[in-house]
Symmetry: C2
């Protein structure tokens, strides 16, 4: 018996997915089938959603769980009619927040994952293009604009972390791969020394890095135990000699790395609309 | 009088930020100062957070609002002691979900934005590297692996949308820029025709595209009204002639574009951990 969980929203569904999944992660043995129903923004769409929830419950033999973020009360009332455990985030929290602020809910609220704040949204998009242009040591001359420069050996997680920081938080994050030149000299290139206060290091366990590189270039020197161990030791020595803070990415997701880096550096989460 | 809003979590804070911001977007006239406090996972850290909330309330002259996602009851109890409006997502919903599932909360729950599900996490990272390698028509020979190929004129939003789809949902998304060759012939290149069922178009309003290109290459032909209008008309004609579904990106964020594309194509949101 597998349980179906619906993430239902009048907009993208990102908030409903995020909170629903974070709740269900509390039950490690739970096996569930996730279904996202975004853009349920009219009574007709809400009734269609209810039909689908009902049909799924009958097919599963167990009633579904519905995590919803429906700002309009009339849509919430329709969805609540489904034979399901319905948990709506706005139903739970909108009234206390409204009372606390002594403000009424706006008739045309801003979209939570929209581009209502055009400046902040453009900033995220610019940051994303910046991260791409400054990936993998691509353009060290543009480090003036960087909020952050991630350094570390090839495939330790720099690129996805920079992209996540850009897309989610509007951070201008460049990254620079430490390689033979740095390992032999034990020194950072001038372009990095100049921006030392923006540097943050990443490291990773040798066996994990070997596994990642093995998938990319099987049985290469690049993926060998000796090379991986040498590079990681040399990189950590460079971090320590230059006073560069660094994190171990082995057991960390990009969300965790991004959050820890922001916390340590005090960089502002500028544009998480 | 500006209100401070805390997003407090025992993990990354991504869930608390997402739900808090989506709630506060309901009050368009609200001006608030957001502060994220991640990794509050011990009683000491929770007491430090309370001290900070108290001090902020005194400085602001108004009590803060706290959106929290604290899985442990003892930490929630500590935070509730702060003089603030405290709204905890787990406090509100964990009991009904636990009862519905007839399951106890796990002693060591999975991390909501961690890498507990190693397969799904690796998939997101692979998808991100794929999106980079297949950005901007970079590697049309690798389209076999694509779940989706976004097509459209330069700077209509293809790249950030592909990266978001990869990072958030583990979708292998390539993108291909339509340019002079396609506009003159009115045809798609063979590499795209072969994968026509994977194609999705993006378009954008001419004045918005002009603005974006103007910032990138001021006063160029590339940013001129006539060029932009010509390209967009030619691209839409190609979409229509080839039966390629397309979306207008003008008023859409990457979250909205991603969500609409997933909804239309039926692609599975594979890896949103």
């Amino acid at each position: 018996m597998s349980r179906t969980v619906f993430f239902l929203s009048d907009q993208t569904g990102v908030t409903a997915e995020t909170l629903g999944r974070s709740m269900l992660a509390q039950f490690v043995d739970l096996d569930y089938h996730p279904v996202t129903l975004p853009f349920v923004s009219t009574p007709d769409a809400a009734r269609d959603a209810v039909d689908r929830i009902q049909a799924t419950g009958r097919a599963d033999g167990v009633r579904p769980i519905v995590f919803s973020t429906l700002a309009q009360g009339d849509l919430r009332d329709i969805v609540r009619g489904a034979d399901a455990l319905c948990l709506d985030f706005f139903a739970a929290f909108l009234t206390p927040v409204s009372q606390e602020l002594s403000m009424e809910v706006s008739r045309t609220p801003a979209k939570a994952h929209g581009i209502a704040d055009k400046g902040a949204y453009s900033h995220r998009i610019e940051a994303t293009h910046y991260a791409l242009a400054n990936d993998d040591g691509g353009a060290t001359r543009d480090y003036e604009r960087a909020d952050l420069i991630l350094v570390g050996v090839s495939r330790c997680g720099k690129t996805p972390t920079c992209l996540y920081l850009a897309l989610q938080y509007g951070i201008f994050a460049a990254n620079y791969p430490l390689a033979d030149e740095e390992f032999e000299s034990g020194r950072l290139p001038a372009a990095l020394v100049k921006h030392r206060h923006k540097l943050h290091g990443l490291t990773i366990a040798p066996d994990r890095l070997q596994q990642i590189r093995q998938e990319r270039k099987p049985d290469s020197r690049y993926a060998s135990a000796s090379q991986v161990t040498f590079e990681l030791r040399a990189a950590e020595a460079i971090f320590q000699r230059n006073g560069i803070p660094y994190l171990d990415a082995t057991e960390c997701s990009v969300e965790e790395l991004a959050s820890r880096i922001l916390q340590r550096t005090g960089l502002e989460r500028r544009a998480n609309v």
